[in-house]
Symmetry: C2
């Protein structure tokens, strides 16, 4: 029997708290290589729920799932220069099979634009074949220097959508639609509010014309890029000759998008909803929604019967239930349920049988209530809904209270130190200024927000003093 | 618009037929590296259905899904000598990241026994923690010399289950239970009959004590290993120190199993059910179960309305439907539906509106019938059931008629030439004899069948003449 270690308080040391909850919450085990992790049942279970629900949504958009190879020859990725430059230092390179040296080096995919290029090339001939909307669920490898479970791992899991369209307008619209899909998905399933916007030139995806992003706020005030959607223009289609004949028989290169959401989203959930008892999983994507705990002082048969009956009823109502049958103590089971973030815990003891009631505990608020046995299903359904809504409301409030407009660099530096989201007027071509800001404050340009109402019409650039109507959200980020 | 190429008749050239149907059936595109393939929507769709259904079954057995790293350090796999020897020549080896040479070589997983060892080690302390039943859906890489889409690719997708138990008996039973699960899964979802048995010493998994297999018969008579389940004993638990304290506080190494089913299963479906019109997908795992084809000579609005109505009704009954809205001809759409193996095709034309009926075509038999519009849902449900049962019956019959008992090596060689499944009496320790047989006939020992009634009580070994009660199924195999 494993003991639960003490969790470092969130206010005391946020990164230690994170490590404590993920290693005790049945979420991860470190892998044998630096920067790799094992997704244990609780975190992989969240990922399965994300997959299941996001899949339904993107399939409704007409997207079809495919699977492309893990490995690509060096020559393939080198065709798109900006793209390969962006990924080169992180590419895991296969040079041998068994004892045999390969003629050409092979890369493990860091993303699959160049592989999809091949599929599009063979699938597209005429306007009749467009649009082509594909997606794959896959693992990718980016060997980064600094790693952090869920947030930045050498290997991660994601979905990557790749689409080809006959016009620029359609592709642009599709890339914008997908970032809205992600924003809604975070709201409706992960109970997280996000800031939506475009990446600056410095921050955009290597090979994209426009990168859309959603940025979520963690409990320490830092930003986490929660998903991205890229408009790729004809960058890849020109390099890889992906073209179609239009109605006038002219040969035209397709316009493309790509968009992805990864296992980072699990990190977002943990850091945005967790507390000093452990993680808090939003009900809709919780692998287990209800923990049924039997209080079995005297191995009371009636308690077991009632628990089984309740499990059956809840499951018939589509609720995911776990009964821990081990001989661990109630206290241990309750603590384990809390650290693992199970939305609702129900305790059933011999006295409850007499009174025809059970104790229901909400994970997010630890609010406890005795509920009549006949009302449990209705109450659980209501609570799952409330927990979701309350978690989202808290997330919305956190951003609202910690996003600040500022037009002085002095004040900006203070706010960044306080780990706020800071929106500033800044000149449009700000690559060098962003470098300077990062060096002096560690903050980075998260996005050019497109849906915030706190920007003025125009204001003086915090770095150059020039009058601008261009605003960027800066923050420290994961 | 892509044209469908002529399919080589199955009787004329089986391997060319296979290539023709997979490249025209929306199944694969070759990847940029030798031995890699792109799973297009039709084949990945089959895999999604297999995942969805098999997941439900293995979760009912108490198995929980996890995800382990793709990459492992060389030193890790080298701990189990027999295991690494089995895989060494096929291991894709990462030696560099970007331009930097790594200190230790890294392998891409060919299977994950040694990675799961680490998870078990950290999860298991006492008998209270056992059994531990894990599974992962993942890609693995085995760089084989001869490759063939679906059947033998450098990278393939699979599920690999890994379990730890407190007793030998429990682990042995679990490994046997899982091969039965696979056998039933092939019957209930893939409509395929299989031969169940143990692998001989020569053929068993590197590191296993016993390897159970199910072998399916392809239409050319060759055998395809359809899934395996291994009893690993304490081979890995001793090497990796995976142990638990039993009730008497004694430290004992766990007993383990592993079991897997891969994208080869898609190859099995194609080669066992396909015909000269293309592939035939068993209804339960068909990504699209019904193709609705509008006969739109005059762009008749009533036809579109009726097709939409029918689509809605079928989907409300849980049936997966596709409507091809392109302006391709009826003939093209029908041929495409057939080559892609969609179980049922429904054609709706203006005259059908008048008569309140539609034309329903079964893919497996090309049997056509006019059905009253009110009866379509019931008829489709009945047909899907019939198609499944008939496909299974054909598969059962194919094996029954082509599996032959034989006790003379001369006759054996003839039967193997005719691509039969041949069961022979042979001495138990037959490694060298198997080498000889393979050299002389290209047939390999598929399994020691455990559920066949055609073996005698004892008979003379076909190679040594000794009286034995040990029988092995030989066949040419993929």
């Amino acid at each position: 029997m494993k003991l639960i270690k003490k969790i470092t308080p969130i206010e005391e040391n946020f990164s230690q708290w994170f490590i404590d909850v993920i290693t005790n919450g049945n979420l991860i085990e470190y892998g044998p290589l630096k920067g790799t992790v094992i997704f244990k049942p609780n975190s992989y279970g969240i990922w399965e729920q994300i997959q299941y629900n996001l899949n339904k949504i993107i399939k409704k958009e007409g997207v079809r799932n495919v699977y492309l190879p893990l490995l690509m020859p060096k020559s393939l990725i080198q065709k798109e220069k900006e793209h390969v430059d962006g990924f080169a230092p992180e590419l895991a390179t296969v040079t041998k099979v068994g004892d045999k040296k390969l003629n050409e080096e092979i890369y493990i995919r860091p993303t699959s634009e160049v592989l999809f290029a091949q599929l599009f090339k063979s699938e597209i001939n005429s306007y009749n074949d467009l649009p082509k909307l594909f997606n794959q669920w896959a693992n990718v490898v980016r060997w980064e220097k600094t790693t952090n479970p869920f947030l930045r791992t050498s290997e991660f899991l994601w979905q990557e959508g790749h689409t080809s369209h006959s016009t620029e307008e359609e592709a642009v619209n599709f890339s914008e639609k997908m970032i809205q899909v992600y924003k809604n998905f975070y709201k409706d399933y992960l109970a997280l509010d996000v800031v939506i916007g475009k990446k600056t030139e410095r921050e955009k995806f290597a090979g994209a014309i426009t990168t859309w992003t959603i940025e979520a706020m963690m409990k320490d005030g830092k930003s986490l890029q929660a998903a991205t959607s890229h408009y790729l223009g004809q960058n890849f289609s020109k390099m890889f000759n992906i073209s179609f004949k239009n109605e006038n028989n002219q040969l035209i290169n397709v316009y493309q998008t790509s968009w992805g959401l990864s296992t980072r989203s699990i990190g977002a959930i943990i850091m945005a909803h967790g507390d000093n008892r452990g993680i808090v999983i939003p009900p809709k994507i919780a692998p287990i929604q209800v923990d049924l705990i039997e209080v079995l002082a005297n191995k009371d048969k009636n308690v077991i019967t009632m628990a089984n009956q309740l499990k059956k009823e809840l499951e018939e109502n589509g609720i995911r239930v776990r009964v821990d049958k081990s001989d661990k103590t109630i206290g241990f089971k309750a603590a384990q349920s809390e650290i693992e973030g199970v939305p609702i815990r129900i305790e059933i003891g011999p006295r409850d049988i007499e009174n025809q009631q059970v104790l229901i505990v909400r994970r997010d608020t630890i609010y406890k209530a005795l509920v009549n046995i006949d009302k449990v299903v209705i109450e659980v359904k209501k609570l799952l809904e409330s927990i979701h809504n309350d978690l989202f409301e808290k997330s919305r409030k956190l951003i609202k209270e910690n996003i600040i407009y500022c037009n002085s660099y002095g004040k900006f530096k203070e706010l960044i130190k306080e780990q706020k989201f800071v929106v500033v007027p800044i000149i449009e071509d700000s690559k060098e200024l962003e470098n300077k800001i990062k060096e002096e404050t560690t903050a980075t340009a998260r996005c050019i927000p497109t849906e915030l109402d706190l920007c003025l019409k125009e204001d003086k650039c915090i770095m150059t003093g020039k009058l601008v109507n261009h605003f960027v959200l800066f923050a420290k980020a994961y």
